[in-house]
């Protein structure tokens, strides 16, 4: 019996949320240790568990992994969500990197002073609608497939759904001009493991938890 992966982070989305999504989509149950005090954090550092003194940290398969993208790449490969060859992998990486950029903007917005927040969030929605969503709408249009890469569900699809939902939390009408993304959202949300993750009581963190 293998031990479940263990996630170590604050009780919130931040940089760990994409990791939760990937594990959930792969149907992998995991445990979470929530860092709530300075002492806990320092204890982890003293135990040498945080390579560069940072979280996210994931204990999995006998390894202690840090660095969000390294963790995500490992999981994508492990759960066969990384394409069938290098050309597919690089496309998945590019799409994922783009969505991670957009998600990082949203995560960082939480730390902006209140007077800047509204302007910031408006800018993020604008970036989503002009820089990122048109790209994915076009890919779906040009390929006419259900998924972004290789006609198979991959890490890129999980990332895209995650960012779509995050931006919709800021502006519910954001997909008004993107019919294929709207259909994609419904389709991917209905994958059983993902549907389960989208239900209350799952490890998914809410928008209130940064």
């Amino acid at each position: 019996m293998t031990t479940k992966p263990k996630l170590c982070y604050f009780r919130g989305r931040g940089r760990m949320e994409s990791i939760r999504w990937l594990l959930a989509a792969a149907g992998v149950e995991f445990e979470e240790e929530f860092i709530e005090t300075r002492e806990q954090y320092e204890k982890l550092q003293k135990e040498g568990l945080l390579l560069f003194g940072q979280v996210p940290m994931v204990e999995i398969d006998g390894m202690v992994l840090t660095q969000t993208r390294a963790i995500l790449s490992y999981l994508a490969a492990k759960y066969d969500s990384y394409g069938k060859d290098l050309k597919e992998t690089v496309r998945i990486n590019m799409y994922a990197d783009g969505t991670l950029d957009l998600m990082m903007m949203i995560a960082l917005a939480a730390f902006k002073p209140p007077e800047e927040k509204e302007e910031n969030l408006t800018l993020i929605v604008k970036k989503a609608k002009t820089r990122y969503f048109p790209v994915f709408e076009k890919i779906l249009n040009d390929r006419g497939e259900d998924f972004l890469v290789g006609n198979k569900f991959s890490w890129a699809d999980i990332q895209l759904l995650e960012v779509i939902l995050m931006v919709e939390e800021l502006d519910a009408s954001v997909l008004a001009d993107f019919p294929l993304l709207k259909a994609f959202e419904a389709r991917i949300s209905n994958i059983p493991t993902i549907r389960k993750f989208l239900q209350p009581g799952s490890p998914r963190k809410s928008i209130l938890q940064f």
């Binding site: 390579l51 560069f52 003194g53 390894m63 992994l65 840090t66 660095q67 969000t68 993208r69 390294a70 790449s73 490992y74 490969a77 492990k78 290098l86 050309k87 992998t89 690089v90 990486n93 590019m94 990197d97 783009g98 950029d101 820089r131 990122y132 790209v135």
Partner: protein, 222 residues
């Protein structure tokens, strides 16, 4: 006959320099098209050559790759600089991600306000000495091998060397407390492809100057 990869970026280090380093380390010759004006960037954007309207962009193997990390991973994987299995690759990835975080401070430095620049050099030095270098010093000390992972050259070694040399330009004695990193720097610098890249006349770019900063502002500021 395969065409050489073609790099699209301003004529300076920035986020493309890591790509230049890895291609050079892998012994791959490449061409460069330097962005000099906003119009050139607009042309690339309008022609749908830039997936997210951004550079770096590398034309390679019939693709137009963007996103620095994706480009680096592709080149590393293609040229056997990414370890022998998934576990090694993940370790290399972790080291590279950490090093790129440190390199980011160097990349952003010329664009800080002059008053903030000196403070930031102190910050960089502290981060390097307290957070990053001890990790790599320990790795090298514990396995006693020349390379960080798997006893062969990888992306992790190349990016670390790039970062060490860039920091040494600002803080010459930054490796004084790290004998294994000093040895690492010498050994990796002496690998033939890398040695060639470190010689004058290579595609390695000089430290950013005012002209570079001005060019970047002209191209990217609205």
């Amino acid at each position: 006959m395969a065409t050489k990869p073609k790099l699209h970026y301003p004529n300076g280090r920035g986020r493309m320099e890591s790509v230049r380093w890895v291609l050079a380390a892998a012994g791959v010759e490449f061409d460069e098209e330097f962005l000099e004006t906003k119009e050139q960037l607009q042309k690339l954007q309008d022609g749908n050559h830039l997936l997210f309207q951004q550079v770096p962009m590398v034309e390679i193997d019939g693709m137009k790759l963007v996103q620095t990390r994706s480009i680096l991973h592709y080149i590393a994987e293609k040229h056997h600089l990414f370890g022998k299995d998934l576990k090694e690759r993940t370790l290399i990835d972790m080291y590279v991600e950490g090093t790129l975080d440190l390199l980011e401070l160097i990349i952003m430095h010329p664009f800080l306000k002059p008053d903030d620049q000196q403070k930031e050099v102190v910050n960089m030095a502290q981060k390097a000495i307290i957070r990053y270098f001890p990790v790599f010093e320990k790795v090298l000390r514990e396995h006693g091998q020349r390379f960080l992972v798997g006893n062969q050259l990888s992306l992790a070694d190349v990016i670390l060397l790039q970062t060490i040399l860039a920091l040494e330009e600002k803080i010459p004695n930054i490796l004084s407390a790290f004998p294994h990193l000093q040895e690492f720097t010498v050994k990796i610098s002496n690998i033939p492809t890398i040695k060639k890249f470190l010689e004058p006349g290579s595609k390695k770019k000089p430290p950013p100057d005012d002209i570079y900063v001005r060019t970047v502002y002209n191209i990217f500021m609205p």
